[in-house]
């Protein structure tokens, strides 16, 4: 959660920073330089800026030649077209020689040049539009003027006629020439017009070339004039820029200066104010630098070449006091400050990335368990979630361009806010995606998966599903068909048929529901233990009948299985009883004859010992067989209890009387905590005695000699709790449950006497008398707790 908040705050800061940085565009290399600690003036970025300015300055000087007289713009300047052509090697005589006023050319270049055909120009020239009457014009001309949709053929014919007329006047103009577009006649040179010039020289052959050159020149002038004005504003104004340039020819004439007053010594000025001055002496072809590191880039002589000049000083530099606000001051400021911002930006981006990775790693996990926890949104179908994510993502991208359109602070704040919100939502969405992947739900929780799953189910049970689909379609077709007939024909009979049909279908559905409910009831009875219950199948039909029968069969099977297992248990008890009878008979002989041997006067101590062993073991075998029968009967519940009210206190005292000698022989000290008044329970006297006897016997057999035995009886309103505690002589390396399993004894070696059935018998007898029997082991401490409901 904290990582998420950090990330969101950083995302918002980063977006804000990105906005701020987008005001200047530094390349990756520039950022690297900035990061490496180079100052602005040392940076490649500055170099490029400076060199660009020098190029511009040189360009400006070119423009100055075209537009200026004595360092000032002069509209009256006489210029030829040739000056403004891209290639003036093969230009026409007219362009080379004819003089225009600069202002005229500039004016014309600012507007659209009006072009007319030479035919029209000549017609105007010869006949005029105002002073020459239409009657004197050739009819053909009138026609051409009047009818614009005259066919090319007739026009060509007119040109031919006109050309012939011209020839007769001594003017050599071919009909092809007449089609050439020429500037209108009011684009005049200082002395003459184009037509005059041509007529004068009697040469129309170059008319096309001249026209083209005129257009090219005007286009170039338009462009140059724009740049000139821009540069002039920058270079010529002393107060507008930090870029300083000073050019002086060998005679000492200042060709260019935007530093300060003319009187100032440029060298002194550069040394004092310019931290990166470059001074090129063309005469000696040498460079000198002020307060600046010599660098190859600046020692490019071509940069400082001025056309038509040989001996001159070219000084250029940046006033690093940055007195004026221009691109250098802005760049300097940004360079320093952006460096810090970039560091912040990069660091915050890294933290965002780390936060993001961390969030992706921990999403869905909690401290408590290993499970992936999905929230409500994660359970929305994958496709819908993805759609929402795409909308949010598109929102992030879609919001970016607004910044470039509008630099106002309010817009930026809005954009930053929206971006922050969007990124938060997008992060949540993305984390949801990772959670889905982690939980393996990406595919399983998709609509497509659902559709495929349903299709599969449909296909697997196609026997039923196709039947239902066909039946349902048939139902729809029949009912809709009938209704269609009813509505179109208004047939009452068909309406009746429709009602009957729908009614029959309804009855069938009702019957199905009833049958299903009956089967459900049958299943419920069987599951609740009534195995004899049978579903009446006589009035069930089709698959319902089969289903009911199958359920009846299952019930019967269960009934038989339970019966069989009960019979098995009884048979087992019988078997054990019978076997024990069969064992007892030979055992009787063994015991008797061992006894007879003992009665003989045996001198040999060895044989006496053997007989003793036989005696003991045969007695043990006797106990075993008796206990075995009893245990098996009790565990199968095959005994009859005679429940009466029993005083537990009396029982304990009686039992102690029975065991006082046995305990005394082992040195066991009984510590008894029992109430003085009688505490009654409901039990079978002999059986509860058997339980207590077994517990005491257990103590007598397995308790450590000369230890204490604790006998406690506690009674409250509802319960009587009896517990015995003793310290075992042998380590009890088994668990409590195992001790009540038949034939388990505390000592695994089974060296002591006893059948191993005592605790099992005691537990089962207790349970049969509705008591609970619990064994607790802790190290060598052995404790049995018996609880019975109290009877008043």
């Amino acid at each position: 959660m904290i990582a998420f908040l950090i990330q969101q705050v950083l995302v918002i800061t980063t977006v804000a920073l990105a906005f701020y940085l987008s005001n200047i565009i530094l390349s990756i290399d520039d950022i690297k330089e900035a990061m490496s600690g180079k100052s602005y003036l040392e940076s490649q970025y500055f170099k490029d800026q400076l060199i660009n300015k020098i190029y511009s300055a040189n360009q400006f000087m070119d423009y100055q030649k075209d537009f200026e007289v004595a360092g000032e713009y002069n509209g009256n300047k006489e210029v030829t077209i040739s000056q403004f052509l891209n290639d003036n090697s093969e230009m026409s005589q007219f362009s080379e020689t004819q003089i225009y006023s600069l202002q005229d050319l500039v004016d014309w270049s600012q507007g659209q040049i009006e072009m007319i055909s030479l035919y029209e120009a000549l017609t105007d020239y010869l006949y005029g539009t105002n002073n020459i009457e239409a009657t004197s014009k050739p009819a053909t001309v009138m026609d051409a003027d009047a009818d614009e949709i005259d066919s090319d053929e007739s026009l060509t014919a007119d040109y031919k006629t006109f050309s012939d007329n011209m020839k007769s006047l001594g003017i050599a103009v071919t009909s092809d020439m007449l089609q050439i577009e020429v500037p209108k006649e009011n684009y005049l040179t200082t002395k003459t017009s184009l037509i005059d010039y041509c007529l004068e020289n009697d040469d129309f052959s170059e008319i096309e070339k001249i026209s083209m050159e005129m257009q090219e020149a005007l286009n170039n002038i338009a462009e140059e004039y724009t740049f000139y004005n821009q540069y002039a504003a920058y270079f010529k104004s002393v107060d507008s820029s930090n870029f300083k340039i000073y050019i002086q020819d060998y005679k000492g004439d200042i060709l260019f200066n935007n530093c300060v007053g003319d009187n100032t010594n440029y060298e002194e000025y550069f040394n004092n104010n310019i931290s990166c001055g470059i001074i090129y002496n063309a005469t000696t072809n040498e460079f000198s630098f002020t307060n600046f590191i010599i660098d190859d880039v600046y020692s490019n002589v071509d940069l400082f070449k001025i056309p038509d000049q040989v001996n001159y000083i070219y000084a250029v530099g940046i006033d690093s006091r940055y007195l004026h606000s221009d691109e250098f001051s802005v760049a300097n400021y940004n360079y320093d400050h952006n460096r810090d911002s970039i560091i912040v930006l990069v660091v915050s981006m890294l933290i965002i990335l780390i936060c993001f990775i961390y969030l992706v790693a921990v999403s869905g996990r909690s401290d408590k368990d290993e499970e992936i926890h999905l929230n409500g949104f994660d359970k929305i179908k994958t496709e819908i979630g993805a759609g929402i994510g795409i909308v949010i993502g598109a929102g992030i991208l879609g919001f970016f361009p607004i910044n470039s359109l509008n630099n106002r602070l309010s817009t930026q704040v809005l954009v930053i806010g929206v971006m922050g919100l969007e990124s938060m939502l997008f992060t949540l969405e993305f984390l949801s995606l990772t959670k889905r992947i982690k939980a393996g739900q990406l595919w399983k929780n998709s609509i497509l998966y659902m559709i495929i799953k349903w299709s599969r189910i449909f296909f697997r049970y196609r026997k039923v599903t196709t039947k239902i689909v066909i039946l349902y379609s048939a139902f729809l077709i029949i009912t809709l068909g009938l209704l269609d007939i009813v509505f179109s024909d208004g047939s009452f009979f068909m309406l009746l048929v429709w009602f009957v049909f729908v009614g029959v279908v309804g009855i069938i559905l009702l019957r199905e529901a009833v049958a299903r409910q009956r089967i459900m009831n049958g299943i419920e009875k069987i599951t609740s233990g009534d195995l004899d219950n049978k579903i009446d199948v006589t009035d069930l039909k089709g698959s319902n009948q089969l289903l009911a029968q199958a359920i009846n069969n299952i019930g019967e099977g269960l009934h038989n299985a339970v019966d069989a297992s009960m019979r098995n248990e009884r048979l087992k008890t019988d078997l054990i009883t019978n076997v024990s009878h069969d064992i007892k008979t030979p055992l009787t002989s063994i015991i008797n004859y061992v006894d007879l041997i003992k009665r003989e006067n045996i001198e040999d101590e060895k044989i006496k010992g053997y007989v003793d062993i036989l005696d003991k073991k045969s007695q043990r075998l006797k106990n075993l067989t008796e206990d075995l029968v009893e245990a098996s009967k009790i565990s199968s519940g095959n005994i009859k209890l005679e429940m009466t009210k029993i005083n537990f206190v009396e029982l304990i005292n009686q039992t102690e009387g029975e065991f006082s000698e046995k305990f005394g022989a082992k040195g066991l000290q009984v510590i008894k905590t029992i109430p003085e008044d009688s505490v009654s329970i409901n039990a079978d006297g002999r059986r509860i005695w058997r339980v207590v006897e077994n517990l005491y016997n257990n103590i007598a057999k397995y308790a450590m000699e000369n230890s204490r035995v604790y006998i406690d009886l506690k009674a409250d309103k509802d319960q009587v709790v009896f517990s015995v505690k003793n310290i075992s002589e042998h380590p009890l390396n088994i668990n409590a449950d195992e001790l009540t399993e038949r034939f388990i004894r505390g000592d695994v070696s089974r060296s002591t006497e006893g059948s191993g059935l005592g605790l099992s018998i005691a537990k089962n007898l207790t349970n049969l008398q509705k008591g609970t029997f619990e064994i607790y082991l802790d190290g060598d401490l052995f404790r049995v707790t018996i609880t019975f409901p109290r009877v008043v």
């Binding site: 009878h581 063994i590 008797n592 009396e650 039992t655 029975e658």
Partner: protein, 231 residues
Amino acid sequence: MFNILVCDDDKEIVEAIEIYLLQEGYHVLKAYDGKEAIKALEQNEIHLLIMDVMMPKLDGIRATLQIRQSSSIPIIILSAKSEDNDKILGLNIGADDYVTKPFNPLELIARVKSQLRRFTKLGNICEEENGTVYKTGGLLIDDERKTVSVEGESVKLTPIEYNILLLLVKNKGRVFSIDQIYENIWNEDAVGADNTVAVHIRHIREKIEINPKEPRYLKVVWGIGYKVEKI
């Protein structure tokens, strides 16, 4: 000289019993199934019958039923069947005692003696209960002479044991709790949580009963108290 018929399909058991009985000076006849037993009874004068239950040809229960139609001699059933139901059945159809296999030879002999004494002396030596003599079955207490005998054999009891037994025999069939016995004998309030009485009772049982674990006279009613059976 008593003639005792031993009937069991297991010859070794019959022989073992024979040895014990011979040692006690009885004359022993042997049979190996119910029919043989009945035949032997018809042909000889038999004073006591020890009979197994599960035997070929005629089992012990049926044989007992037949014998009881004509004879009242003591019958001790000796069976591997040790269930309560089996014992009850055997005693109900006319057997006088029921001993389960595997048996303690001494116990069997004691029971034989007891049965014979009762059978032979019944009617002859009739020590009627009067002011100072109390009896139940073979247990007899002469309060005047302060003597106790079981089946004619005298038993030595301590004064407290004698008093307890006397109390119980005087009130045959009535169950006394430990506290009640204590209050009666010691003449003071029972302190409770005491097993003195229980220990004494056990000692008495050991002295007067053939098998203290399955007492005939002094019975434990678990969780309630003690009583002497009215026989």
